[in-house]
Symmetry: C2
Subunit: 290 residues, 2 copies
Protein backbone atom coordinates (compact mmCIF):
# COMPACT_ATOMS: atom_id res chain seq x y z
CA UNK A 1 0.00 0.00 0.00
CA UNK A 2 1.15 3.48 -0.92
CA UNK A 3 0.91 4.87 2.61
CA UNK A 4 3.05 2.11 4.02
CA UNK A 5 5.70 2.43 1.35
CA UNK A 6 6.03 6.19 1.48
CA UNK A 7 5.51 6.61 5.18
CA UNK A 8 5.82 3.70 7.54
CA UNK A 9 4.29 5.40 10.60
CA UNK A 10 0.96 4.90 12.34
CA UNK A 11 -2.16 7.06 11.95
CA UNK A 12 -4.21 8.23 14.95
CA UNK A 13 -7.95 8.75 14.84
CA UNK A 14 -10.05 10.34 17.57
CA UNK A 15 -13.83 10.41 17.44
CA UNK A 16 -15.55 12.62 20.02
CA UNK A 17 -19.28 12.08 20.32
CA UNK A 18 -21.90 13.23 22.79
CA UNK A 19 -21.44 10.03 24.85
CA UNK A 20 -18.04 8.48 24.09
CA UNK A 21 -14.53 9.35 23.00
CA UNK A 22 -13.01 6.61 20.84
CA UNK A 23 -9.42 6.52 19.65
CA UNK A 24 -7.77 4.17 17.15
CA UNK A 25 -4.24 3.52 15.96
CA UNK A 26 -3.94 2.40 12.32
CA UNK A 27 -1.03 0.80 10.46
CA UNK A 28 -2.03 1.51 6.87
CA UNK A 29 -5.65 0.36 6.94
CA UNK A 30 -5.05 -2.21 9.68
CA UNK A 31 -6.31 -1.57 13.24
CA UNK A 32 -3.41 -1.86 15.69
CA UNK A 33 -5.07 -0.71 18.90
CA UNK A 34 -8.10 1.16 20.20
CA UNK A 35 -9.19 2.83 23.41
CA UNK A 36 -12.39 4.39 24.71
CA UNK A 37 -13.56 6.74 27.49
CA UNK A 38 -16.84 8.45 28.38
CA UNK A 39 -17.12 12.04 27.13
CA UNK A 40 -16.86 14.39 30.12
CA UNK A 41 -19.62 16.98 30.04
CA UNK A 42 -18.60 19.23 32.96
CA UNK A 43 -16.74 21.75 30.84
CA UNK A 44 -13.75 22.43 28.63
CA UNK A 45 -10.85 21.90 31.08
CA UNK A 46 -11.63 18.31 32.01
CA UNK A 47 -12.76 17.66 28.43
CA UNK A 48 -9.37 18.41 26.85
CA UNK A 49 -7.48 16.51 29.55
CA UNK A 50 -9.60 13.43 28.78
CA UNK A 51 -9.23 13.92 25.01
CA UNK A 52 -5.48 13.59 25.50
CA UNK A 53 -5.87 10.74 28.02
CA UNK A 54 -7.78 8.58 25.55
CA UNK A 55 -4.82 8.85 23.14
CA UNK A 56 -2.12 7.91 25.70
CA UNK A 57 -2.35 4.09 25.43
CA UNK A 58 -2.09 4.39 21.65
CA UNK A 59 0.93 6.69 21.76
CA UNK A 60 2.61 4.20 24.10
CA UNK A 61 1.82 1.33 21.75
CA UNK A 62 3.32 3.22 18.79
CA UNK A 63 6.46 3.88 20.84
CA UNK A 64 6.69 0.21 21.84
CA UNK A 65 6.37 -0.80 18.17
CA UNK A 66 9.10 1.70 17.23
CA UNK A 67 6.73 3.60 14.94
CA UNK A 68 6.23 7.31 14.33
CA UNK A 69 2.80 8.93 14.33
CA UNK A 70 2.33 10.51 10.90
CA UNK A 71 -0.80 12.44 11.80
CA UNK A 72 -4.00 12.60 13.82
CA UNK A 73 -7.55 12.99 12.52
CA UNK A 74 -10.19 14.41 14.85
CA UNK A 75 -13.86 13.75 14.22
CA UNK A 76 -16.24 15.76 16.36
CA UNK A 77 -20.03 15.99 16.76
CA UNK A 78 -21.14 19.36 15.49
CA UNK A 79 -21.18 21.81 12.60
CA UNK A 80 -17.74 23.00 11.52
CA UNK A 81 -16.60 26.16 9.77
CA UNK A 82 -13.83 24.51 7.76
CA UNK A 83 -12.28 27.75 6.59
CA UNK A 84 -11.72 28.88 10.18
CA UNK A 85 -11.32 25.30 11.53
CA UNK A 86 -13.87 26.26 14.18
CA UNK A 87 -16.92 24.54 15.65
CA UNK A 88 -19.97 26.69 14.98
CA UNK A 89 -22.60 24.52 16.65
CA UNK A 90 -22.28 21.43 18.82
CA UNK A 91 -25.71 20.83 20.38
CA UNK A 92 -24.55 17.97 22.59
CA UNK A 93 -21.27 19.55 23.71
CA UNK A 94 -22.25 23.22 23.92
CA UNK A 95 -18.96 24.32 25.55
CA UNK A 96 -17.28 23.55 22.21
CA UNK A 97 -19.25 26.25 20.35
CA UNK A 98 -16.90 28.81 18.83
CA UNK A 99 -13.82 26.70 19.74
CA UNK A 100 -10.97 25.77 17.38
CA UNK A 101 -10.52 22.15 18.49
CA UNK A 102 -7.21 21.51 16.72
CA UNK A 103 -5.65 24.47 18.55
CA UNK A 104 -6.94 23.12 21.88
CA UNK A 105 -5.66 19.64 21.11
CA UNK A 106 -2.27 21.03 20.04
CA UNK A 107 -1.96 22.98 23.31
CA UNK A 108 -2.70 19.90 25.38
CA UNK A 109 -1.03 17.20 23.27
CA UNK A 110 1.99 19.09 21.84
CA UNK A 111 2.15 16.84 18.79
CA UNK A 112 5.07 16.64 16.33
CA UNK A 113 2.69 15.60 13.53
CA UNK A 114 -0.15 17.34 11.62
CA UNK A 115 -3.77 17.33 12.85
CA UNK A 116 -6.91 17.20 10.68
CA UNK A 117 -10.52 18.06 11.53
CA UNK A 118 -13.90 16.84 10.32
CA UNK A 119 -17.33 16.21 11.78
CA UNK A 120 -18.20 12.79 13.12
CA UNK A 121 -20.79 11.88 10.47
CA UNK A 122 -18.30 12.63 7.68
CA UNK A 123 -15.75 10.42 9.49
CA UNK A 124 -18.36 7.64 9.74
CA UNK A 125 -19.07 7.93 6.01
CA UNK A 126 -15.38 8.02 5.06
CA UNK A 127 -14.60 4.85 7.01
CA UNK A 128 -17.57 2.94 5.57
CA UNK A 129 -16.72 4.16 2.06
CA UNK A 130 -13.06 3.13 2.25
CA UNK A 131 -13.17 0.01 4.44
CA UNK A 132 -16.79 -0.85 5.22
CA UNK A 133 -20.15 -1.48 3.58
CA UNK A 134 -19.53 1.11 0.84
CA UNK A 135 -16.25 -0.34 -0.45
CA UNK A 136 -17.69 -1.37 -3.81
CA UNK A 137 -19.56 1.89 -4.47
CA UNK A 138 -18.50 5.28 -5.84
CA UNK A 139 -21.31 7.35 -4.30
CA UNK A 140 -22.08 6.62 -0.65
CA UNK A 141 -24.42 8.42 1.69
CA UNK A 142 -23.82 7.74 5.39
CA UNK A 143 -26.32 8.62 8.12
CA UNK A 144 -25.64 8.43 11.84
CA UNK A 145 -28.66 8.09 14.11
CA UNK A 146 -27.46 8.34 17.68
CA UNK A 147 -27.54 11.24 20.15
CA UNK A 148 -28.48 13.33 17.11
CA UNK A 149 -28.74 12.75 13.37
CA UNK A 150 -25.78 13.42 11.07
CA UNK A 151 -24.81 12.58 7.52
CA UNK A 152 -22.09 12.63 4.90
CA UNK A 153 -21.63 12.06 1.20
CA UNK A 154 -18.59 10.28 -0.23
CA UNK A 155 -17.89 10.65 -3.98
CA UNK A 156 -15.11 8.54 -5.50
CA UNK A 157 -13.43 7.99 -2.14
CA UNK A 158 -13.49 11.62 -1.01
CA UNK A 159 -15.93 13.29 1.36
CA UNK A 160 -17.93 15.92 -0.48
CA UNK A 161 -17.83 19.05 1.70
CA UNK A 162 -19.91 21.41 -0.44
CA UNK A 163 -19.18 25.05 -1.09
CA UNK A 164 -19.23 26.11 2.59
CA UNK A 165 -18.59 22.78 4.36
CA UNK A 166 -22.33 22.44 4.97
CA UNK A 167 -23.11 19.34 2.89
CA UNK A 168 -24.60 16.24 4.48
CA UNK A 169 -26.95 17.61 7.14
CA UNK A 170 -30.04 15.40 6.86
CA UNK A 171 -31.15 16.26 10.41
CA UNK A 172 -31.82 19.84 9.31
CA UNK A 173 -34.27 18.78 6.61
CA UNK A 174 -37.88 19.75 7.18
CA UNK A 175 -40.38 16.94 7.57
CA UNK A 176 -43.30 19.27 8.28
CA UNK A 177 -43.35 22.79 6.83
CA UNK A 178 -46.56 23.92 8.47
CA UNK A 179 -45.33 23.10 11.97
CA UNK A 180 -41.68 23.85 11.15
CA UNK A 181 -40.42 20.46 12.29
CA UNK A 182 -37.04 19.19 11.11
CA UNK A 183 -35.98 15.53 11.12
CA UNK A 184 -33.78 16.26 14.15
CA UNK A 185 -36.72 17.88 16.00
CA UNK A 186 -38.98 14.95 15.18
CA UNK A 187 -36.29 12.46 16.25
CA UNK A 188 -35.67 14.16 19.60
CA UNK A 189 -39.37 14.49 20.29
CA UNK A 190 -40.08 10.86 19.43
CA UNK A 191 -37.15 9.29 21.29
CA UNK A 192 -36.92 11.78 24.18
CA UNK A 193 -33.14 11.30 24.18
CA UNK A 194 -33.63 7.68 25.19
CA UNK A 195 -33.82 5.53 22.09
CA UNK A 196 -32.09 2.57 23.78
CA UNK A 197 -34.74 2.09 26.46
CA UNK A 198 -37.45 2.82 23.90
CA UNK A 199 -36.06 0.09 21.64
CA UNK A 200 -36.08 -2.38 24.52
CA UNK A 201 -39.74 -1.55 25.22
CA UNK A 202 -40.58 -2.03 21.55
CA UNK A 203 -38.79 -5.40 21.48
CA UNK A 204 -40.85 -6.41 24.54
CA UNK A 205 -44.01 -5.60 22.56
CA UNK A 206 -44.99 -2.24 24.00
CA UNK A 207 -47.37 -0.86 21.35
CA UNK A 208 -46.59 2.80 22.07
CA UNK A 209 -42.85 2.23 21.67
CA UNK A 210 -43.47 0.24 18.48
CA UNK A 211 -45.61 3.08 17.15
CA UNK A 212 -42.83 5.59 17.84
CA UNK A 213 -40.34 3.60 15.76
CA UNK A 214 -42.92 3.33 12.97
CA UNK A 215 -43.21 7.11 12.94
CA UNK A 216 -39.44 7.46 12.98
CA UNK A 217 -39.36 5.07 10.01
CA UNK A 218 -41.80 7.28 8.09
CA UNK A 219 -39.75 10.42 8.69
CA UNK A 220 -36.52 8.64 7.77
CA UNK A 221 -38.14 7.23 4.62
CA UNK A 222 -39.09 10.75 3.57
CA UNK A 223 -35.54 12.01 4.13
CA UNK A 224 -34.00 8.97 2.38
CA UNK A 225 -36.22 9.70 -0.65
CA UNK A 226 -35.10 13.35 -0.60
CA UNK A 227 -31.46 12.25 -0.52
CA UNK A 228 -31.94 9.80 -3.41
CA UNK A 229 -33.85 12.41 -5.43
CA UNK A 230 -31.04 14.91 -5.01
CA UNK A 231 -27.78 12.93 -4.97
CA UNK A 232 -28.80 9.38 -6.01
CA UNK A 233 -26.13 7.47 -4.06
CA UNK A 234 -25.25 3.85 -4.87
CA UNK A 235 -25.89 2.83 -1.24
CA UNK A 236 -27.09 4.38 2.03
CA UNK A 237 -25.24 3.22 5.17
CA UNK A 238 -26.72 3.83 8.62
CA UNK A 239 -24.88 3.85 11.92
CA UNK A 240 -25.04 5.29 15.44
CA UNK A 241 -26.72 3.85 18.55
CA UNK A 242 -30.28 3.83 17.18
CA UNK A 243 -29.23 2.01 13.99
CA UNK A 244 -28.72 -1.09 16.16
CA UNK A 245 -32.53 -1.21 16.49
CA UNK A 246 -33.05 -0.72 12.73
CA UNK A 247 -35.37 -3.75 12.44
CA UNK A 248 -37.92 -1.62 14.32
CA UNK A 249 -38.05 1.13 11.68
CA UNK A 250 -36.09 0.28 8.54
CA UNK A 251 -38.77 -1.65 6.63
CA UNK A 252 -41.22 1.24 7.10
CA UNK A 253 -38.51 3.69 6.04
CA UNK A 254 -37.75 1.68 2.90
CA UNK A 255 -41.44 1.46 1.98
CA UNK A 256 -41.99 5.23 2.30
CA UNK A 257 -38.69 5.95 0.52
CA UNK A 258 -39.47 3.73 -2.49
CA UNK A 259 -42.83 5.41 -2.95
CA UNK A 260 -41.21 8.83 -3.39
CA UNK A 261 -38.12 8.10 -5.47
CA UNK A 262 -38.68 9.65 -8.88
CA UNK A 263 -36.29 7.54 -10.98
CA UNK A 264 -37.40 3.87 -11.19
CA UNK A 265 -33.75 2.78 -11.58
CA UNK A 266 -32.88 4.35 -8.22
CA UNK A 267 -35.71 2.69 -6.29
CA UNK A 268 -33.76 -0.50 -5.64
CA UNK A 269 -31.10 1.33 -3.61
CA UNK A 270 -29.83 -0.65 -0.62
CA UNK A 271 -29.88 0.71 2.92
CA UNK A 272 -27.47 -1.25 5.09
CA UNK A 273 -26.01 -1.05 8.56
CA UNK A 274 -22.42 0.00 9.26
CA UNK A 275 -19.89 -2.81 8.87
CA UNK A 276 -17.21 -1.40 11.14
CA UNK A 277 -19.29 -0.96 14.30
CA UNK A 278 -18.45 1.32 17.20
CA UNK A 279 -15.01 2.31 15.94
CA UNK A 280 -16.21 3.53 12.54
CA UNK A 281 -15.98 7.25 13.39
CA UNK A 282 -12.47 6.99 14.84
CA UNK A 283 -11.25 4.92 11.86
CA UNK A 284 -12.73 7.52 9.50
CA UNK A 285 -10.94 10.25 11.46
CA UNK A 286 -7.59 8.41 11.12
CA UNK A 287 -8.20 7.97 7.38
CA UNK A 288 -8.04 11.78 6.95
CA UNK A 289 -4.28 11.49 7.48
CA UNK A 290 -2.67 10.97 4.06
Amino acid sequence: MKNETVNSGYRLGLDIGGTKMCAVLLNGEHLVEHYRLSTPKEGPRHFWIMAVAVLKPLLERAKKDGKNIIGLGLGIAGTIDFRKQKITNSPNLPFLNGIKPLEKLTENLKPSYPLFLDNDANCFTRAEAVLGAGKKFNNIYGITIGTGIGGGLSLNGEIYQGAHGGAGEPGAMLVDLENKITLEDAYQKLTQNNSRILAQEAYEGDPLAEQIFQELGEYLGMIFANIVNIVDPGIIIIGGGTAAASDLFLSTAKQVMTEYIENPEARGIKIVKSKLGELTGAIGAALMVK
Copy 2:
Protein backbone atom coordinates in the same frame (compact mmCIF):
# COMPACT_ATOMS: atom_id res chain seq x y z
CA MET B 1 -10.06 27.17 -27.24
CA LYS B 2 -9.33 23.47 -27.24
CA ASN B 3 -12.49 22.45 -29.09
CA GLU B 4 -11.81 24.85 -31.90
CA THR B 5 -8.20 23.81 -32.28
CA VAL B 6 -8.79 20.09 -32.25
CA ASN B 7 -12.08 20.11 -34.08
CA SER B 8 -13.19 23.11 -36.06
CA GLY B 9 -16.82 22.02 -36.58
CA TYR B 10 -20.03 23.34 -35.08
CA ARG B 11 -22.03 21.80 -32.24
CA LEU B 12 -25.79 21.34 -32.39
CA GLY B 13 -28.05 21.54 -29.35
CA LEU B 14 -31.74 20.65 -29.26
CA ASP B 15 -33.91 21.27 -26.20
CA ILE B 16 -37.37 19.71 -26.26
CA GLY B 17 -39.72 20.97 -23.57
CA GLY B 18 -43.44 20.61 -22.97
CA THR B 19 -44.14 23.84 -24.87
CA LYS B 20 -41.23 24.62 -27.20
CA MET B 21 -38.44 23.00 -29.18
CA CYS B 22 -35.32 25.18 -29.30
CA ALA B 23 -32.24 24.45 -31.38
CA VAL B 24 -28.85 26.19 -31.33
CA LEU B 25 -25.69 26.03 -33.40
CA LEU B 26 -22.46 26.72 -31.50
CA ASN B 27 -18.98 27.54 -32.76
CA GLY B 28 -16.91 26.69 -29.71
CA GLU B 29 -18.87 28.52 -27.02
CA HIS B 30 -20.17 31.18 -29.41
CA LEU B 31 -23.81 31.14 -30.58
CA VAL B 32 -23.94 31.12 -34.39
CA GLU B 33 -27.67 30.63 -34.97
CA HIS B 34 -30.84 29.50 -33.24
CA TYR B 35 -34.33 28.40 -34.21
CA ARG B 36 -37.55 27.59 -32.38
CA LEU B 37 -40.87 25.81 -32.97
CA SER B 38 -43.85 24.85 -30.81
CA THR B 39 -43.73 21.29 -29.49
CA PRO B 40 -46.37 19.24 -31.33
CA LYS B 41 -48.46 17.23 -28.90
CA GLU B 42 -50.56 15.13 -31.28
CA GLY B 43 -48.30 12.10 -31.20
CA PRO B 44 -44.93 10.65 -32.11
CA ARG B 45 -45.02 10.84 -35.92
CA HIS B 46 -45.48 14.61 -36.22
CA PHE B 47 -43.24 15.09 -33.18
CA TRP B 48 -40.14 13.57 -34.79
CA ILE B 49 -40.76 15.32 -38.11
CA MET B 50 -40.82 18.65 -36.27
CA ALA B 51 -37.76 17.73 -34.17
CA VAL B 52 -35.84 17.38 -37.44
CA ALA B 53 -37.48 20.48 -38.94
CA VAL B 54 -36.26 22.73 -36.11
CA LEU B 55 -32.69 21.65 -36.92
CA LYS B 56 -32.87 22.30 -40.69
CA PRO B 57 -32.07 26.06 -40.69
CA LEU B 58 -29.02 25.34 -38.51
CA LEU B 59 -27.76 22.52 -40.73
CA GLU B 60 -28.10 24.85 -43.72
CA ARG B 61 -26.18 27.59 -41.93
CA ALA B 62 -23.35 25.16 -41.09
CA LYS B 63 -23.20 24.11 -44.74
CA LYS B 64 -23.13 27.75 -45.89
CA ASP B 65 -20.26 28.43 -43.47
CA GLY B 66 -18.41 25.37 -44.78
CA LYS B 67 -18.38 23.74 -41.34
CA ASN B 68 -18.95 20.16 -40.24
CA ILE B 69 -21.30 19.25 -37.41
CA ILE B 70 -19.20 17.47 -34.77
CA GLY B 71 -22.14 16.26 -32.70
CA LEU B 72 -25.65 16.91 -31.44
CA GLY B 73 -26.82 17.08 -27.84
CA LEU B 74 -30.49 16.43 -27.08
CA GLY B 75 -32.06 17.69 -23.87
CA ILE B 76 -35.52 16.40 -23.16
CA ALA B 77 -38.13 16.96 -20.43
CA GLY B 78 -38.47 13.73 -18.48
CA THR B 79 -36.71 11.07 -16.45
CA ILE B 80 -34.05 9.16 -18.35
CA ASP B 81 -32.63 5.67 -17.87
CA PHE B 82 -29.09 6.57 -18.95
CA ARG B 83 -27.89 2.97 -19.14
CA LYS B 84 -30.56 2.12 -21.69
CA GLN B 85 -30.69 5.68 -23.16
CA LYS B 86 -34.44 5.50 -22.72
CA ILE B 87 -37.09 7.90 -21.41
CA THR B 88 -38.80 6.32 -18.43
CA ASN B 89 -41.23 9.10 -17.59
CA SER B 90 -42.14 12.27 -19.46
CA PRO B 91 -45.29 13.68 -17.80
CA ASN B 92 -45.76 16.47 -20.35
CA LEU B 93 -44.99 14.41 -23.46
CA PRO B 94 -46.46 11.03 -22.49
CA PHE B 95 -46.00 9.48 -25.97
CA LEU B 96 -42.23 9.59 -25.28
CA ASN B 97 -42.50 7.14 -22.35
CA GLY B 98 -40.40 4.04 -23.02
CA ILE B 99 -38.86 5.61 -26.17
CA LYS B 100 -35.13 5.73 -27.01
CA PRO B 101 -35.05 9.30 -28.39
CA LEU B 102 -31.57 9.12 -29.94
CA GLU B 103 -32.64 6.09 -32.01
CA LYS B 104 -35.74 7.99 -33.19
CA LEU B 105 -33.71 11.06 -34.02
CA THR B 106 -31.13 8.96 -35.89
CA GLU B 107 -33.88 7.31 -37.99
CA ASN B 108 -35.33 10.68 -38.96
CA LEU B 109 -32.16 12.77 -39.20
CA LYS B 110 -29.62 10.19 -40.50
CA PRO B 111 -26.70 12.09 -38.95
CA SER B 112 -23.02 11.49 -39.72
CA TYR B 113 -22.04 12.70 -36.21
CA PRO B 114 -22.58 11.34 -32.68
CA LEU B 115 -25.68 12.16 -30.61
CA PHE B 116 -25.83 12.67 -26.83
CA LEU B 117 -28.81 12.60 -24.45
CA ASP B 118 -29.63 14.32 -21.17
CA ASN B 119 -32.69 15.72 -19.45
CA ASP B 120 -33.60 19.37 -19.91
CA ALA B 121 -32.89 20.48 -16.32
CA ASN B 122 -29.38 19.01 -16.49
CA CYS B 123 -28.84 20.87 -19.78
CA PHE B 124 -30.06 24.09 -18.17
CA THR B 125 -27.62 23.59 -15.28
CA ARG B 126 -24.70 22.70 -17.56
CA ALA B 127 -25.15 25.86 -19.67
CA GLU B 128 -25.43 28.14 -16.63
CA ALA B 129 -22.41 26.43 -15.02
CA VAL B 130 -20.17 26.76 -18.09
CA LEU B 131 -21.33 30.05 -19.64
CA GLY B 132 -23.95 31.63 -17.36
CA ALA B 133 -24.54 32.74 -13.78
CA GLY B 134 -22.53 29.82 -12.36
CA LYS B 135 -19.29 30.50 -14.25
CA LYS B 136 -17.32 31.46 -11.13
CA PHE B 137 -18.56 28.57 -8.97
CA ASN B 138 -17.51 24.93 -8.66
CA ASN B 139 -20.80 23.58 -7.23
CA ILE B 140 -23.95 24.80 -8.95
CA TYR B 141 -27.52 23.71 -8.38
CA GLY B 142 -29.92 24.61 -11.21
CA ILE B 143 -33.72 24.49 -10.86
CA THR B 144 -36.16 24.90 -13.70
CA ILE B 145 -39.67 26.03 -12.77
CA GLY B 146 -41.79 25.90 -15.89
CA THR B 147 -44.33 23.34 -17.08
CA GLY B 148 -42.93 21.15 -14.30
CA ILE B 149 -40.04 21.42 -11.83
CA GLY B 150 -36.62 19.96 -12.65
CA GLY B 151 -33.10 20.26 -11.30
CA GLY B 152 -29.47 19.44 -11.80
CA LEU B 153 -26.18 19.57 -9.92
CA SER B 154 -22.91 20.58 -11.59
CA LEU B 155 -19.65 19.74 -9.80
CA ASN B 156 -16.41 21.13 -11.22
CA GLY B 157 -17.93 21.67 -14.64
CA GLU B 158 -19.54 18.25 -14.97
CA ILE B 159 -23.17 17.31 -14.37
CA TYR B 160 -23.41 14.92 -11.44
CA GLN B 161 -25.66 12.07 -12.57
CA GLY B 162 -25.67 9.95 -9.41
CA ALA B 163 -25.43 6.17 -9.23
CA HIS B 164 -28.54 5.51 -11.35
CA GLY B 165 -28.90 8.79 -13.26
CA GLY B 166 -31.54 9.89 -10.75
CA ALA B 167 -29.78 12.89 -9.15
CA GLY B 168 -31.32 16.35 -9.23
CA GLU B 169 -35.06 15.73 -8.94
CA PRO B 170 -36.24 18.46 -6.56
CA GLY B 171 -39.84 18.17 -7.79
CA ALA B 172 -40.07 14.71 -6.25
CA MET B 173 -39.21 15.94 -2.77
CA LEU B 174 -41.98 15.75 -0.21
CA VAL B 175 -43.23 18.99 1.23
CA ASP B 176 -45.97 17.35 3.29
CA LEU B 177 -45.54 13.78 4.54
CA GLU B 178 -48.95 13.46 6.14
CA ASN B 179 -50.79 14.33 2.95
CA LYS B 180 -48.10 12.83 0.68
CA ILE B 181 -47.60 16.01 -1.32
CA THR B 182 -44.43 16.50 -3.36
CA LEU B 183 -43.13 19.87 -4.53
CA GLU B 184 -44.31 19.02 -8.06
CA ASP B 185 -47.82 18.17 -6.74
CA ALA B 186 -47.98 21.40 -4.75
CA TYR B 187 -46.72 23.41 -7.74
CA GLN B 188 -49.29 21.96 -10.14
CA LYS B 189 -52.09 22.41 -7.63
CA LEU B 190 -51.13 26.01 -6.89
CA THR B 191 -50.55 27.16 -10.47
CA GLN B 192 -53.16 24.96 -12.21
CA ASN B 193 -50.85 24.72 -15.20
CA ASN B 194 -51.21 28.43 -15.77
CA SER B 195 -48.49 30.29 -13.91
CA ARG B 196 -48.21 33.02 -16.56
CA ILE B 197 -51.79 34.23 -16.20
CA LEU B 198 -51.54 33.79 -12.44
CA ALA B 199 -48.41 35.97 -12.38
CA GLN B 200 -50.21 38.66 -14.37
CA GLU B 201 -53.08 38.61 -11.88
CA ALA B 202 -50.64 38.90 -9.00
CA TYR B 203 -48.89 41.86 -10.66
CA GLU B 204 -52.30 43.51 -11.02
CA GLY B 205 -52.78 43.15 -7.27
CA ASP B 206 -55.12 40.15 -7.09
CA PRO B 207 -54.71 39.02 -3.45
CA LEU B 208 -55.51 35.35 -4.16
CA ALA B 209 -52.89 35.16 -6.89
CA GLU B 210 -50.37 36.93 -4.63
CA GLN B 211 -51.16 34.43 -1.88
CA ILE B 212 -50.53 31.51 -4.24
CA PHE B 213 -47.04 32.80 -5.09
CA GLN B 214 -46.36 33.29 -1.37
CA GLU B 215 -47.22 29.64 -0.78
CA LEU B 216 -45.08 28.58 -3.71
CA GLY B 217 -42.26 30.61 -2.15
CA GLU B 218 -42.63 28.73 1.13
CA TYR B 219 -42.48 25.34 -0.56
CA LEU B 220 -39.51 26.38 -2.67
CA GLY B 221 -37.73 27.75 0.40
CA MET B 222 -38.15 24.40 2.13
CA ILE B 223 -36.74 22.56 -0.90
CA PHE B 224 -33.86 25.07 -1.30
CA ALA B 225 -32.96 24.49 2.37
CA ASN B 226 -33.03 20.70 1.81
CA ILE B 227 -30.73 21.10 -1.18
CA VAL B 228 -28.29 23.30 0.74
CA ASN B 229 -28.34 20.93 3.73
CA ILE B 230 -27.47 17.99 1.50
CA VAL B 231 -25.19 19.31 -1.25
CA ASP B 232 -24.31 22.87 -0.14
CA PRO B 233 -23.87 24.42 -3.61
CA GLY B 234 -22.02 27.70 -4.13
CA ILE B 235 -25.03 29.16 -5.95
CA ILE B 236 -28.60 28.20 -6.89
CA ILE B 237 -29.73 29.28 -10.37
CA ILE B 238 -33.41 29.30 -11.30
CA GLY B 239 -34.89 29.23 -14.77
CA GLY B 240 -38.02 28.20 -16.67
CA GLY B 241 -41.16 30.20 -17.41
CA THR B 242 -42.21 30.79 -13.80
CA ALA B 243 -38.75 32.07 -12.81
CA ALA B 244 -39.56 35.21 -14.84
CA ALA B 245 -42.04 36.07 -12.07
CA SER B 246 -39.52 35.34 -9.31
CA ASP B 247 -40.08 38.71 -7.60
CA LEU B 248 -43.49 37.31 -6.58
CA PHE B 249 -42.02 34.39 -4.58
CA LEU B 250 -38.24 34.55 -4.26
CA SER B 251 -37.98 36.76 -1.17
CA THR B 252 -40.35 34.45 0.73
CA ALA B 253 -38.39 31.43 -0.50
CA LYS B 254 -35.09 32.95 0.66
CA GLN B 255 -36.52 33.78 4.06
CA VAL B 256 -37.81 30.23 4.66
CA MET B 257 -34.62 28.74 3.25
CA THR B 258 -32.30 30.77 5.49
CA GLU B 259 -34.25 29.73 8.57
CA TYR B 260 -33.60 26.03 7.90
CA ILE B 261 -30.01 25.95 6.68
CA GLU B 262 -27.96 24.24 9.38
CA ASN B 263 -24.52 25.64 8.61
CA PRO B 264 -24.30 29.42 9.26
CA GLU B 265 -21.61 29.74 6.55
CA ALA B 266 -24.03 28.35 3.96
CA ARG B 267 -26.91 30.70 4.82
CA GLY B 268 -25.63 33.50 2.60
CA ILE B 269 -25.98 31.40 -0.56
CA LYS B 270 -27.18 33.37 -3.58
CA ILE B 271 -30.25 32.40 -5.60
CA VAL B 272 -30.13 34.06 -9.00
CA LYS B 273 -32.00 33.93 -12.27
CA SER B 274 -30.63 32.29 -15.40
CA LYS B 275 -28.26 34.52 -17.41
CA LEU B 276 -28.71 32.84 -20.77
CA GLY B 277 -32.50 33.13 -21.04
CA GLU B 278 -34.69 31.02 -23.29
CA LEU B 279 -31.84 29.27 -25.11
CA THR B 280 -30.16 27.97 -21.94
CA GLY B 281 -31.40 24.39 -22.32
CA ALA B 282 -30.39 24.11 -25.98
CA ILE B 283 -26.96 25.60 -25.27
CA GLY B 284 -26.49 23.13 -22.43
CA ALA B 285 -27.48 20.30 -24.79
CA ALA B 286 -24.87 21.43 -27.35
CA LEU B 287 -22.23 21.61 -24.60
CA MET B 288 -22.54 17.82 -24.13
CA VAL B 289 -20.66 17.44 -27.43
CA LYS B 290 -16.93 17.30 -26.58
